[in-house]
């Protein structure tokens, strides 16, 4: 088993990652761990299973396989609660999980997980503080800050999630622009939508059916306010009936 363990670490350390080889090494080690006569003491076995769990998580990110990422990350967390002395990578894992939840817009899970991290770590630990800052920027609408963080992420594995978020952000920005601008030059649109060249932007604009007038996009701010207020009779009737029923019960 010791050999399988070493093999796994060696294959994993190679750059660029050979997914198939890592998977094979993982499988080998898992079978070795499963068999009763592993020939190792408990401590080494625990260490080996730690590597199995952690590498599974990271591999899932490399493969962009987020369903299995969700599974593995939970396994890792269980492992950390059971073997707290081997949890030196815990913050990286928690940080990745936070990024994952953020990227997939599972905000309530995000906050539940964040609450479990001590306050001190939230600001001082780079693994944790990155997703925390991104979340704040997202909520405030400071989208450019999210892009800026991509340049100084604590671990290369974070970038996958930031890329996913970038799509979401672009959608958000686009809908904000539609509602708040009357017109916008193509050049500014490229900057605001965080594209590096006009072609990409133009294609995106086409997908969203923006109207191009010369070199400006024109947006129609819909005049919803002027619409006369209709008497919503159905709603009023249901409300009144509800009151009547309740009053009936009281009297």
């Amino acid at each position: 088993m010791a050999a399988a363990h070493k093999n796994l670490l060696a294959v994993w350390a190679k750059e660029p990652k050979d997914v198939a080889a890592v998977e094979k090494a993982l499988n080998d080690l898992t079978t070795a761990l499963g068999s009763a006569s592993s020939g190792l003491d408990e401590k080494q076995a625990a260490l080996a299973s730690k590597d199995v769990y952690e590498i599974s998580v990271l591999l899932a990110i490399v493969k962009n396989d987020f369903d299995s990422f969700d599974d593995y990350i939970n396994q890792v967390n269980t492992y950390y609660t059971m073997v707290p002395q081997n949890s030196e990578n815990k913050h990286l894992m928690t940080g990745l999980q936070l990024m994952f939840l953020l990227a997939f817009n599972r905000l309530s899970d995000f906050h539940m997980l964040l609450e479990q991290v001590p306050q001190r770590e939230q600001t001082s630990n780079a693994y944790i503080s990155t997703p925390v800052r991104i979340e704040q920027s997202l909520m405030e609408g400071a989208y450019n800050k999210v892009v800026l963080t991509e340049k100084n992420i604590p671990s290369p594995f974070y970038s996958v999630f930031i890329r996913i978020m970038l799509d979401t952000i672009r959608r958000e920005i686009a809908s904000s622009i539609e509602k708040s601008f009357k017109s916008l030059t193509a050049k500014d649109a490229t900057v605001m939508l965080l594209f590096d060249n006009d072609q990409k932007m133009l294609k995106y604009a086409q997908d969203r059916k923006w109207r191009l007038d010369g070199n400006r996009f024109v947006f129609e701010v819909e005049a919803a306010q002027d619409k006369p207020v209709n008497l919503d009779t159905v709603r009023i009737a249901t409300q009144t009936l509800f009151y009547a029923k309740q009053l009936e019960q009281i009297v």
């Binding site: 906050h111 609450e115 909520m139 009357k182 309740q246």
Partner: protein, 501 residues
């Protein structure tokens, strides 16, 4: 048995009000012993509502407990079914009565009790056993003899489990409560969560409502203290809180639920739960609980964009503990980011201790939104650059995104535009529409009516009725007794258990 117990109660009734006036010097211990003996007698009837009554005055009884009282109770000639019972209890009450002083006390009580004792020995019921054990347990707890208390508590629970009688549920609940408090004081609460879970399962299966309520509350507390929010959320989604639980337990449950909802960003339900927790909390006392809940109410209100009313902060019990939150409210109301940051820095420790820090950090976006709203109200047009200056942001692009988002979120009614091509952009606010021409007032009126109706319905549900049986056949004497009891009961309700929190 019943008439005799009734007679005893009448005796007590007539004597009780006179006692303090006639013999002010009389030893308080003796009164306590008398009271507890009376309680034991009513317990011997083995009726559920009598058990509830005795437990209801527990906080009052608790204050009268001391070594002498307990020792006296254990040695006063009551005989248990379990012969080793009192010997066992005495092991916990380490007290040797000073013989001389004890003598006069004995004569006063033996005047009424000894003849009857002579005729036939009084066997205590299981209820009484449990009650005595609980009293000793509480006493041990008060003296911080935690190890002994834990041991006794375990004995109590085993005894209750073995007899499996419905009336004992109240005692089990109280015992569990104290066991949990002790575990928490010793910092070992998390270790017993397995035990609590299995007990909850049993209690739920057998419909032991009181135990169930206590257990659910403590499990939630255990999870929240140890930051196991996911488990707590799971628990809440799985259990059905017993409907006839006491108000105190209900208040706690509401509070914990509010905390969980607040974490899940569901501020509306969180606010609802905190409001109910506030309403269910006892009028008098439980100040600590009310203060904590009030803090959460303020924070959640702010997160929802509501500014709490000024008079909340003025009430004497809240004035001091909410001082930091008042500063915070000022900052949010003014949309003053510099002040908000300052408050956050200054009171960080306090907020962290209150577990509200993460929520307060989330307030930042509200502050920004308020600020933008105020700018849009004050200026009909303003350059993005100037907004950035006002919001203390060094980056115009960022400000533009934020303003655009505010417009998209319908926080403000404005457009971003520019006069000349590629000129500097500015934000132009639209005219504010007359809100009374929309259906907004109707909606508000509707929510208020619903709130009132809901309040009424809950009040109706909260009404309690006395048990119906036996009313037809009671004699005049019994009727008198019952009325008196109800009077006392009402009085006790008024000063409901403040120690409990």
């Amino acid at each position: 048995m019943t008439p005799k117990a009734g007679e005893a109660a009448v005796e007590k009734m007539e004597v009780d009000p006179v006692k303090p006036a006639a013999e002010p010097a009389k030893d308080e211990n003796a009164i306590a012993v008398e009271n507890i003996k009376d309680q034991l007698q009513s317990l011997d009837k083995g009726e559920e509502h009598l058990v509830a009554r005795v437990l209801h005055v527990l906080p009052k009884t608790r204050r009268q407990l001391n070594d002498a009282v307990l020792h006296k109770l254990c040695t006063s000639g009551l005989i248990s079914h379990d012969s080793a019972f009192f010997d066992n209890l005495l092991k916990f009450v380490k007290y040797t009565p000073p013989a001389v002083i004890d003598e006069p006390m004995d004569t006063t009580s033996s005047k009424t009790k000894s003849p009857r004792k002579g005729v036939r020995p009084v066997y205590t019921s299981i209820e009484s056993d449990c009650y005595l054990r609980l009293l000793v347990l509480i006493h041990l707890f008060a003296q911080k003899k935690y190890q002994d208390a834990l041991l006794l508590g375990e004995q109590q629970l085993t005894a209750i489990q073995n007899t499996d009688k419905r009336t004992l549920d109240g005692f089990a609940a109280k015992t569990l409560y104290f066991l949990c408090v002790i575990h928490e004081r010793e910092g070992k609460l998390f270790e017993i969560r397995g035990v609590l879970n299995s007990r909850l399962r049993t209690a739920t299966l057998r419909h032991f409502n009181e135990s169930q309520a206590v257990l659910i509350c403590w499990l939630l507390r255990c999870y929240l203290i140890n930051r196991q929010y996911q488990s707590a959320a799971h628990l809440v989604s799985k259990v059905a809180f017993p409907e006839n639980a006491t108000n105190n337990d209900l208040a706690r449950y509401m509070y914990y639920q509010g905390r969980i909802k607040a974490l899940q960003l569901d501020y509306n339900s969180a606010a609802g739960y905190f409001l109910q927790a506030q309403r269910k909390a006892p009028q008098e006392g439980a100040i600590g609980f009310k203060q904590t809940v009030q803090k959460w109410v303020v924070v959640i209100g702010l997160l929802q964009g509501e500014i709490p009313e000024r008079n909340v902060f003025r009430q004497p019990i809240y004035r001091k503990c909410l001082a930091q939150y008042l500063d915070l409210t000022h900052a949010v109301r003014l949309g003053d980011i510099a002040k908000f940051n300052h408050v956050l820095e200054q009171h960080r420790k306090v907020f962290e201790a209150d577990d509200t820090l993460t929520l307060i950090v989330r307030l930042r976006q509200n502050v920004i939104k308020t600020a933008i709203k105020q700018i849009s109200l004050a200026y009909s047009r303003i350059y993005i650059k100037d907004i950035a200056k006002k919001l203390l942001m060094d980056n115009e692009t960022e400000t533009e995104y934020i303003v655009a988002k505010a417009i998209a979120d319908d926080a403000i009614d404005a457009v971003i535009t520019s006069d000349v091509r590629d000129g500097p952009r500015y934000m132009q606010s639209s005219e504010t529409a007359d809100i009374y021409r929309t259906s907004e007032p109707q909606d508000h009126f509707d929510t208020r009516i619903r709130y009132c109706l809901e309040l009424h319905n809950q009040a109706v549900k909260a009404l309690r009725y006395p048990p119906k049986k036996k009313i037809a056949v009671e004699s005049i004497e019994q009727a008198r007794e019952r009325e008196q009891q109800e009077l006392e009961f009402a009085k006790e309700l008024a000063d409901e258990d403040e120690d409990d929190f």
